[in-house]
Symmetry: C2
Subunit: 204 residues, 2 copies
């Protein structure tokens, strides 16, 4: 009997290998050769799925987004405190473990790439829109439960929060001191995502 | 008499040309040929200063940072309201005109590059550190004048504000709708940089 190959599954497996390489050694370390070596598949098998490093990176982006999508889904489905969910959503994007390090790195790479590649641009924009939708929904739910003031400009807060988290991820990738600062904030979810952007007030 | 060439000045001129190209057409449009054409110098003259597009981009990064440094210096030297200065500093980083569009694009490019190039990494980190110092100083001055509450965690606010602005720039580059949103916020400095990150409060 011929062996039945689940191509989608193998493709995911190879993208996962690429993400592990990105977390460990960065974007540039992803090549069809390095992924073949690490996954145990021959470069011949690999060539069936990916013809270049760029191909592999795009697959890694999609795989990272898919996994992140599942994380977001869990927060959407939970019935607990919407504010805790918001905390969780934002923290799920900071590069504090291997999954999130790969996610942040691959997204930073494609943020830069998106300026020169329309297809990537549209894909990245969609991920960002989706994230904003999920964040916005949590803020509204938190308002409904009296956890967040109702006089917020929700759209502005959503844009600002998602931007702040993306910016913090980039700075943490860039600077180990920032990474440490973010990690050390006691009760990180409370401290980090427990921030919203509010007008500066006078000091009286 | 031999013509005296001010090489530093010409180098700046060529980097300015590259920045204009970046603002108009993006990072990928910068080549020794395109800069030669736009500046009116021959590729032969250009080759005296820059041997590759990467060279040109690094020069553009430094030139953009130098010009931004002068903008920051003006805010440091001004004797008016520190809070207005903080507004100005943060707004000077959003991609709302040609200078800032080139600045944001070239920084995003090198944020991504910095993960694979130690020299670029150190340079980019230094720019970010410097920006944080300037922002921090404005917050402290605003506190001294009673414009900002004194019970802030200044370091956290500084990290968050600079990250938020960087994130907003990236999202504005990516998404014209976000760019419009940021532009349309009435009294932008009041609205955008008039935000600090504050703990979420209960809605009661």
């Amino acid at each position: 009997m011929p062996k039945i190959v689940d191509h989608d599954r193998r493709r995911d497996e190879l993208a996962d290998t690429a993400l592990a390489i990105i977390a460990r050694s960065g974007i540039r370390a992803v090549t069809t050769r390095s992924v073949a070596e690490e996954s145990g598949w021959s470069t011949g098998v690999l060539a069936h799925y990916f013809t270049s490093s760029k191909d592999l990176l795009v697959a890694s982006l999609r795989r990272a987004a898919e996994i992140q999508g599942r994380v977001l889904q869990r927060y959407r489905d939970q019935t607990g405190s919407p504010l805790d969910a918001l905390h969780g959503i934002l923290e799920s994007l900071l590069p504090f473990d291997e999954r999130r390090l790969a996610l942040s790195r691959v997204f930073l790479h494609f943020y830069a790439e998106s300026t020169a590649d329309d297809k990537i641009h549209d894909e990245i924009s969609e991920y960002a829109d989706n994230l904003r939708r999920v964040v916005r929904r949590s803020i509204v739910a938190a308002q409904d439960q009296g956890q967040v003031p109702t006089d917020l400009d929700i759209d502005a807060v959503t844009v600002d929060l998602v931007a702040a988290i993306d910016g913090l991820s980039v700075h943490a990738l860039l600077d180990p001191a920032i990474m440490e600062t973010l990690r050390k904030r006691p009760h990180l979810p409370e401290d980090l995502t427990g921030y919203i952007l509010r007008p500066l007030q006078g000091g009286d």
